[in-house]
Symmetry: C2
Subunit: 222 residues, 2 copies
């Protein structure tokens, strides 16, 4: 048992990470970030889930930092979130520069402050292609940087680093998780759009498991 800070966006990946940390009987502190993402519905999910689980939860408002990132469609109102598959070139506009280093550095600082020994987050191999800060070498170097930057060693760990959304769902189903309590769509609408890279990847993962995604969708890509 360890005291662990879980970076918990409210999405299905970090929802599964959160439950994995709890299942292994760790003392969990969930940390969410409001960085001005259009899809802040995921934060509502995070609040509700941690409330139900009685897990300590902090939502840190770092919306101001979006003023640094004028070229990302995830935070800029001047750029539309692209539709289609993640691998496509146009999905690069969903990259918030250096996002995971920023979020992890805050989570590590929080961990030092509350004397937690680990920070967990939901990086997985499905994101590697367009998000360099989800790659194994990134997690490894952040783990080393974390141990150099502070006298109190804080480990950085991504339990699904060598897995993908299909593998994450497999583990989640084995834990009996209810994915209606998560949010994935990048657009800020009432229902999931079914068309952005994030929705497409999620729907494909459910399909592999022959399960119906419990979320309501506006429509789904053919």
């Amino acid at each position: 048992m360890a005291r662990i800070v879980v970076v918990y966006s409210g999405g299905m990946d970090s929802f599964t990470v959160l439950h994995k940390a709890l299942k292994e009987e760790n003392e969990v502190f969930a940390l969410s970030f409001d960085y001005g993402q259009k899809h802040n519905k995921e934060l509502e999910c995070a609040k509700q889930v941690t409330g139900e689980l009685a897990v300590a939860h902090k939502i840190l408002d770092i919306k101001n930092i979006s003023s640094l990132f004028t070229s990302s469609s995830l935070v800029s109102n001047e750029i539309a979130v692209p539709e289609g598959h993640y691998q496509a070139e146009n999905m690069k506009s969903t990259v918030v520069p250096n996002r995971n280093m920023i979020l992890l550095s805050l989570a590590i600082g929080y961990a030092v402050n509350i004397k937690a020994s680990e920070v967990w987050y939901g990086a997985h191999s499905g994101d590697h292609i367009i998000y360099p800060d989800c790659r194994p070498e990134f997690v490894e170097i952040m783990d080393r940087a974390s141990k150099v930057a502070n006298f109190e060693p804080v480990k950085v760990f991504a339990p699904y680093l060598n897995s993908d959304k299909v593998g994450i769902l497999k583990d989640g189903f084995a834990m009996g998780l209810d994915y209606s309590k998560t949010w994935t769509c990048y657009k800020g609408l009432e229902r999931a759009c079914g068309k952005c890279g994030s929705c497409v990847e999620r729907l494909e993962a459910f399909e592999v498991h022959n399960k119906l995604d419990p979320l309501p969708y506006l429509s789904t890509v053919g």
Copy 2:
């Protein structure tokens, strides 16, 4: 000539770094952070100096993050800033956990966004003893992490890493810099206190050069 983001607090170290970057004819974007520090007078200095120099300047308000760091005297109103020499045990309360990783990660993200190729900051060897995130191995690993985290390589560089405040002042005097345009004291008073670790170190550095610090002080440690 390169496009460079300079992490510029308004203090004497980063003031010197800023001028060094300008002197080498780089295109400089200064970035300051309002992280809820009691000594926000340094931000006023930063604003004035960049205005006079006509250097692009952004002050990023990240005051919210102080809610993560309840145990640091630099941001908590419940803990007094300690007096005396830096080396002393009580100075550890001035450590904001993981601060430099947080600030650098934001500066790197900003650099990626504006297509800058380098981030400079004012770490120096005088800070190594109590601030692990000012050590050469920290700068080195952040430089490597930066290059792993983003497809656009951003170099992390601390020009005075192997120097100290005395060396920084030497370089600054050679550039003809006016240190009345900087702020160093950790306390949030009208005049510098002359007693906190930051003031003591500054005054000692001026003394080595047989120069009078142009800042007004309340009093100085005998």
